[in-house]
Symmetry: C2
Subunit: 216 residues, 2 copies
């Protein structure tokens, strides 16, 4: 157990471990070893032990980890022991798909509201979630106690949307707009760039090495 700063690589692995532990619990497993976990996702067992050891000594030597206990720890560590209210800004194709996706995924994230600038969309429902005018963001975010915002608007509007979100005091933002955004200090911004991920695949295909038998 150390008090260093935890890297993002570690925390996203914790999410993966937790998902796996939920599965193991459902399967009725009582304990699991770091080696057992490691095999499930082609990962090094020392890495798992180290990731967990940042937060405490959860294991028992000679035995492994108790599934239920570790699951509770990770749930708490990841802040998933209490609900989060999500908003999705941008009620276009991607925004509505994300709303549906997050609504369907049973999780502690409730999609509480959506926003758009298009008058035709304002007032409509996506699933059971109302689309509000982006102009009223601060008021609605307050009313619904939003703590996480997802940006799903075209790149050109993203900086302005980010601005509106941050002035409302929201500290956690996920951005799907393909543009580099700079969030204020003490606001966590994660960008997922769907285009760049694809281009990484194109690069791979362009490499000479795997060209044997490759479809062109």
């Amino acid at each position: 157990m150390k008090s260093e700063k935890i890297s993002e690589l570690t925390t996203s692995r914790l999410s993966v471990y937790l998902r796996c532990l939920n599965q193991l619990a459902a399967d009725g497993e009582r304990t699991v070893s770091s080696e057992g976990l490691a095999k499930k996702f082609h990962l090094n067992s020392a890495q798992i032990r180290k990731d967990l050891a940042y937060f405490g000594e959860f294991g028992v030597r000679g035995v492994g980890y108790y599934v239920d206990e570790l699951r509770d720890h990770l749930t708490k560590i990841l802040g998933l022991d209490r609900p989060h209210n999500l908003t999705i800004v941008g009620a276009g194709r991607l925004g509505t798909a994300l709303a549906d996706y997050y609504r369907a995924a049973q999780s502690n994230f409730a999609v509480a509201a959506m926003f758009d600038a298009d008058p035709a969309k304002i007032g409509t429902l996506v699933g059971k979630v109302e689309v509000f005018d982006i102009k009223n963001f601060p008021e609605i975010a307050e009313r619904y106690n939003i703590d996480v915002a997802v940006i799903a608007v075209p790149a050109e509007f993203a900086p302005a949307v980010l601005q509106q979100i941050t002035v409302s005091g929201i500290k956690a933002i996920m951005n799907f707009a393909p543009v580099p955004l700079k969030a204020p200090e003490n606001v966590k911004l994660k960008t997922v760039d769907l285009t760049i991920s694809l281009e990484g695949l194109a690069y791979f295909l362009a490499q000479p090495s795997p060209q044997n038998g490759q479809r062109r």
Copy 2:
């Protein structure tokens, strides 16, 4: 110019640079320095020079990089100088949203076909793209000359879908199912896990440090 193995971190930055160069070209800029690029995305200029130097000496000392020339190089390096045919497996909410997203993004990725197992969806159109029966994957993939596949099915079906895709000889796969998949050697698999990204935000919110003024 080295012949080392290029890291994925480098290649995704190349995508970012290319996007920026396209913008600069549209703005009529002739040259740009590594420092100029670096400022745009809060990045170190040495990193940019190093990333580029893996592939050649594209710059001119005392001047910088010629926008058009560097753009051409990066386009070629990333394999974006020729078209790619994309398929999306899973015509649910996420799959159709991704289809629309990639269709709209003007790029070298053409959405050529979609697949699903649900008889109600087979034969329908998403945009102008037909949904085929997943059973016919090999034949249709061949017909449309698919070289990149996107997995957008529920986690439980993802392993079987991966299997079907890889036996068809497709070498580049993007996975949105929240499950750890293992692709064969010489197949590139990228997973984007929308849930894990959110949980990283929850972890951040659960930390004591930024709790001043945070909405709960």
